[in-house]
Symmetry: C2
Subunit: 332 residues, 2 copies
């Protein structure tokens, strides 16, 4: 059995969509056992009876707009996310899934589950939307603003293990996001990371990748520091938003456009869906001593069930122990 902790109160549509996602996942996977943390009465409204699920009541929840998650998590032991993550720290559950606010999830991972010994940084790693037949991992987007090359190497190792176990890619190809494709491009940091990635026998290193290939590269994993990755992620989002608006604008400008729209309404809906967060997997926190999947804040039941599926595969693939065996230690 794979036992996961579910933060039933995190996310814009919690607990309803979260609990419905739990119902879906339980039906889909018979090896899954789930513990839901949150408001027992609220959860019961939506939870379908199943002997592989139980509820642990939690008095309060981390607000999606919480300005000071560090304080909230440190001082309030009754938060559903705190209780859920504590069950992972205690070894009662093997992983946790939450749709709570990103910074709160990172902070709670740090403070409650804690880093794997020897890993100096925690990274937030989303799956990019599928393009050209491939889902790609981008990391770090969690905004580690100061980072060392060795930490980026560790993250690349983690991502390689994750991609092989969860995405089922045999020898995941790792690219270093950079401003040019030639070796020697980039900052001091990038040059060092390039060297480390080249030397690591466990990493299938492709070389530098410019973000104009972000969604078309043959790489499975794109690695950069947390500041750059966060900018790249948000630029992708911003460009997609602006282009969506522009497409709508151009179509509605003429009668032909409006008629054409009626014919291809479904096609355009599918196009829009290509970037729908509900169709894209959650982000994984790399570097803490337990599996943590952060589903999108706006997750519906289906999206949350997908995040549970991700966590299940990560636990099944034993990624945390595999990472520990692989770990290159810092000499600091």
């Amino acid at each position: 059995m794979i036992k996961l902790a579910i933060d039933a109160m995190g996310g814009d549509f919690a607990p309803k969509e979260i609990v419905k996602g739990v119902n879906i996942a339980l039906k889909q996977f018979s090896d899954l056992e789930l513990v839901l943390f949150g408001d027992e009465n609220e959860i019961k409204k939506y939870l379908e009876a199943n002997d592989r699920v139980k509820i642990v009541h939690a008095e309060s929840k981390l607000d999606m707009g919480e300005k000071d998650p560090v304080r909230a998590i440190r001082t309030n032991k009754e938060l559903s996310i705190v209780k859920a993550f504590k069950s992972v720290a205690d070894g009662e559950c093997s992983g946790a899934v939450t749709a709570g606010p990103t910074q709160g999830v990172i902070v709670a991972s740090h403070l409650i589950i804690r880093r794997i010994k020897g890993m100096k940084r925690v990274a937030l790693c989303p799956e990019l939307p599928m393009f050209a037949g491939k889902k790609r991992l981008l990391l770090d987007v969690g905004a580690n603003t100061e980072i060392k090359s060795l930490h980026m190497l560790q993250q690349a190792q983690f991502a390689s293990i994750y991609a092989s176990k969860v995405l089922g890619v045999e020898k995941p190809l790792v690219g270093l996001l950079n401003i040019g494709t030639e070796p020697g491009k980039g900052r001091e940091l990038d040059l060092e990371v390039y060297e480390l990635l080249t030397q690591d026998p466990n990493i299938n290193f492709y070389g530098n990748v410019e973000p104009k290939e972000l969604l078309t590269t043959e790489c499975d994993i794109l690695i950069t520091d947390g500041f750059s990755g966060n900018l790249v992620m948000k630029t992708m989002e911003g460009t997609a938003k602006a282009l969506g608006m522009a497409l709508k604008e151009e179509i509605s400008k003429t009668l032909g456009g409006k008629i054409g729209y009626l014919f291809m309404k479904k096609n355009l809906a599918n196009f829009k869906n290509r970037l729908n967060p509900n169709e894209i997997g959650g982000a994984v926190i790399f570097g803490v001593d337990g599996v943590v999947v952060k589903a999108h804040g706006s997750s519906n039941a289906y999206a949350f069930s997908q995040a549970i599926k991700q966590a299940r595969l990560a636990v099944k693939g034993d990624i945390i122990n595999k990472m520990k065996e692989n770990l290159v230690l810092d000499n600091e």
Copy 2:
């Protein structure tokens, strides 16, 4: 009269499209005097007679794929770009326009026209495609990988002067590209730049802008370091490319899509055009002691004439002298 040096041999379609762009610009602006540098015989094939244009022969040209532009520019005085930029350095022309390779243009600006005294870094600043009724400047995208906060302040000052004189924006609003909107977000560098931008009375500072607002923000200028800006620019490009492919894919999947396409062919072409480099202005080199506009390598005649128009406005607006008056000096 505004006298500009034109590198007639730079760009994928040089000299033909460059010279045709010159023809357009000369017709459009009666205060324009142009000196074309390049292969005299080739240029003559396309150049329309005009007493405000002359040709200075140059034996060779900087290859679009030149791997070592520094060496090429240092050793070959017969390159059209070298001769064109030299005429700016000598004060014979007030600005230069080229569609040559980006790194070559930056190197030539540095080595031949040279930096404005007191400006420590040169920045490459493109106009972003117009969205939500606005053209925005993004800088630096030229990949200054190591930069100090004061240099970014200088670039913001330069961009403010440029936006007011060339884009005609009265008090251009400057945003700092960052991973969060709250003050205090980002790296040490960003915190320092935030402070400097806040204090500068000549800068209309908006605060932090996340790149998910890149094409919709009310800011006229978005500033970041050269590494980040280059990644952001290329991510925009990559996302647009992938979305374009996805749209095509989805439309061609069904008969309805194909019929709809016939009705909105023109609308979709216009949509595609929104990101067409020929519709977007060239990039300007900020920080050298003369106006330099770098048109897209793939410029057609119209695009190149637009780049000439940009250079004309920059010279007319006296942006170099305005920048010199404004310059905050480094105490190094």
